[in-house]
């Protein structure tokens, strides 16, 4: 992990953490080939052009969501040429009520899944990092196996099993299958492996038990990695479509991406409303990103977490 402020390894890495105002590298030494200045100008031009391309879709969606439905139905040129924004679509969506239920479902499932995932995987990782016990090799093997299991492919059996225990159409149906995120055990284990053991020794001499050491020594030292795992779990659960799409069929309980994908309700062909829905589904994550930019970027860089 690059977020390991407590990690003893940090010093060994040049420029650890890409957000740390990385020293600009000017590989082209003085007078080498194309002049550095020209290259810098080209760099800016190219990057700005691509950044514009990358920003336009989001901004266009935002602009559409602030348009009148009538204008939005006329097409892109009309949307862009009408300057007066209206919040009409947002008030429609908030007025209809469904979106509140969807926000609630997303918030509840994300928070509970995140808490359970962080706690349980940290506990398991602690045992694997520090404790010797019979069957440890087997557990490591199972975990290694688990990381290769593509959980999306298990949607059919997971659905059937949730049905068998009557959990379909409950938040638990979304929460439980996402708790065993094996990668987070690895992330924690690796971090714990880097924590000097002297710290624990001291606590142990004071008579602290395993749980006490884990809770009062290890976890406080692990805040950066906890933050990274928690945020990435939160984002992953918020964005999950496949699982909640099939296990939540009660519109009152749907998470926001599923609700948007499923319930046509008041939308119909109202493009501004649809784009407002798209914006609202993303809004909490965008806010989260702006607050936790560093943790998210470094977490992604460090874990290769995806899909």
């Amino acid at each position: 992990m690059t977020t390991t402020s407590a990690s003893p390894r940090r010093s060994t890495r040049p420029g650890a953490g890409i957000s740390a105002a990385a020293p600009p590298r000017r590989p082209s030494g003085a007078g080498a080939g194309i002049s550095g200045r020209t290259f810098t100008v080209v760099t800016w031009v190219v990057l700005l052009a691509f950044a514009a391309i990358w920003l336009i879709p989001s901004l266009f969606a935002l602009k559409t969501s602030l348009s009148d439905n009538g204008v939005a139905s006329l097409g892109a040129s009309e949307i862009l040429s009408h300057w007066y924004p209206t919040l009409h679509s947002y008030s429609t969506l908030f007025g209809a009520g469904d979106i509140w239920n969807w926000y609630l479902a997303s918030a509840v499932t994300c928070i509970i899944t995140t808490v359970l995932t962080v706690l349980f995987s940290a506990m398991a990782a602690y045992a694997l990092s520090r404790l010797r016990f019979r069957g440890r090799t087997t557990v490591m093997l199972l975990i290694l196996l688990g990381i290769m299991i593509p959980s999306q492919v298990l949607i059919v059996p997971i659905f059937e099993m949730l049905g068998a225990v009557n959990l379909l159409n409950t938040y638990w149906a979304v929460i439980f299958p996402q708790v065993p995120a094996v990668i987070s055990v690895f992330i924690f284990k690796q971090f714990f492996d880097g924590i000097p053991r002297e710290l624990e020794e001291a606590a142990r001499i004071d008579g602290a038990g395993l749980w006490k050491i884990f809770w009062s020594v290890i976890l406080p030292l692990s805040r950066p990695v906890i933050a990274a795992v928690a945020i990435l779990t939160f984002v992953g659960v918020w964005n999950n479509l496949l699982l909640p799409l099939f296990v939540l069929t009660n519109p009152n309980l749907m998470t926001i991406p599923v609700g948007l994908a499923t319930v046509q309700g008041s939308f119909g062909q109202r493009y501004a409303d649809i784009q407002a829905g798209a914006v609202l589904a993303a809004l909490p994550l965008v806010m989260l990103y702006l607050v936790f930019q560093r943790q998210i970027v470094e977490g992604v860089a460090g874990t290769g977490l995806k899909g």
Partner: protein, 328 residues
């Protein structure tokens, strides 16, 4: 490799540190299971995660294998009648099963080159900037954390035939906008690929940026002393040193492509016709529309095997690369 004293290299690679060289190995304080742990105590720590693991990862995997040999139905309880290998025979003979895999490959071919090349270029250029890096990180990375529902709604709207943003840009550039990129079976996958490249490039961008910042500056300086131009430095220093990141990016992308579902479901539902149907779409369709859990399980098993095989290849590649790094 999973013995107590040797840290598992794959664990390391999965946690990503591998992409920034072997520095972690120098740590001599690596936790090694201590003497003080006792069985029951350790198991209490393992148990909560372990139970979820067994119930929602291993259990379903086993159940999937079992159900694939039965005519299990969504609307009847129990496994149903024994089907032997029928479900597998069916899948192997189904044109749409193969075409779903082909579409996955097609999607991979469309998305990997831009995702690798553009991400690399963006990262190399961004990394050169003295200021303003935050802006490009925002621009390129922000889409990655958006929900698939959001990006699909955005891009479907952009691809609206005739009046959409895409069609407007096409007209501006002098092309005749056709019936819509998502409406034509020949181009629908291209449309999905465009949306996906836009959506996920930030991930590779960040990986490359991290990789770049691990390249010691001295290497460039040495190259510059030898008279290498900027271009030569990129070619002979940057590219080779990021080879491992590139391998990681490509393998991750292939695995992600095999599991693609959201964009396709939301943007085209596999259409027009079945021209963008992918494996997970076929599986969920078979299970939840056709009500055939058994057949869907067989398809799941096949996809499962393919993905695990590639994951194993990835592990091996990582390990070989890690060893080479260590020796170097």
């Amino acid at each position: 490799m999973t013995t107590a004293s040797t840290p598992s290299p794959s664990a390391g690679s999965l946690a990503g540190t591998s992409i920034r060289g072997g520095s972690r190995r120098r740590s001599d304080r690596r936790g090694r299971p201590s003497d003080r742990g006792t069985g029951p105590g350790a198991w209490l720590f393992i148990a909560p995660f372990g139970l979820f693991y067994l119930a929602f990862l291993l259990g379903p995997t086993v159940w999937m294998f079992v159900a694939s040999f039965f005519n299990t139905s969504l609307v009847h309880s129990g496994l149903g009648s024994f089907a032997g290998l029928d479900n597998y025979v069916e899948m192997f003979s189904r044109a749409d099963f193969w075409s779903a895999l082909w579409h996955t490959l097609q999607f991979t071919l469309y998305t990997v080159p831009p995702l690798v090349i553009l991400a690399f270029v963006f990262a190399v250029l961004t990394n050169r900037l003295r200021r303003g890096q935050w802006f490009f990180r925002l621009a390129f990375f922000l889409p990655f954390i958006l929900p698939s529902a959001t990006i699909s709604l955005i891009w479907v709207f952009i691809f609206t035939p005739a009046t959409g943003l895409w069609a407007s840009v096409q007209s501006l550039l002098g092309f005749t906008p056709g019936s819509g990129i998502l409406a034509d079976p020949k181009s629908a996958m291209v449309g999905i690929a465009i949306a996906t490249v836009w959506w996920t490039i930030g991930f590779n961008f960040i990986l490359y940026l991290a990789g770049l910042q691990d390249i010691p500056r001295e290497l460039y300086e040495a190259a510059a002393v030898d008279g290498a131009t900027t271009w030569q430095q990129i070619r002979h220093v940057t590219v080779p040193l990021l080879r491992r990141t590139t391998t990681l990016v490509i393998l991750l992308q292939i695995i992600a492509s095999l599991k693609i579902f959201d964009q396709v479901y939301l943007m085209t539902s596999g259409g027009p016709g079945v021209s963008t149907q992918v494996s997970l779409g076929l599986i969920t369709g078979t299970a939840f529309t056709d009500n055939r859990i058994g057949a869907a399980s067989a398809a799941s098993v096949l996809l499962f095997v393919i993905i695990v095989a590639i994951a194993v290849i990835r592990e091996i590649v990582e390990r070989v690369a890690a060893r080479r790094d260590q020796e170097a």
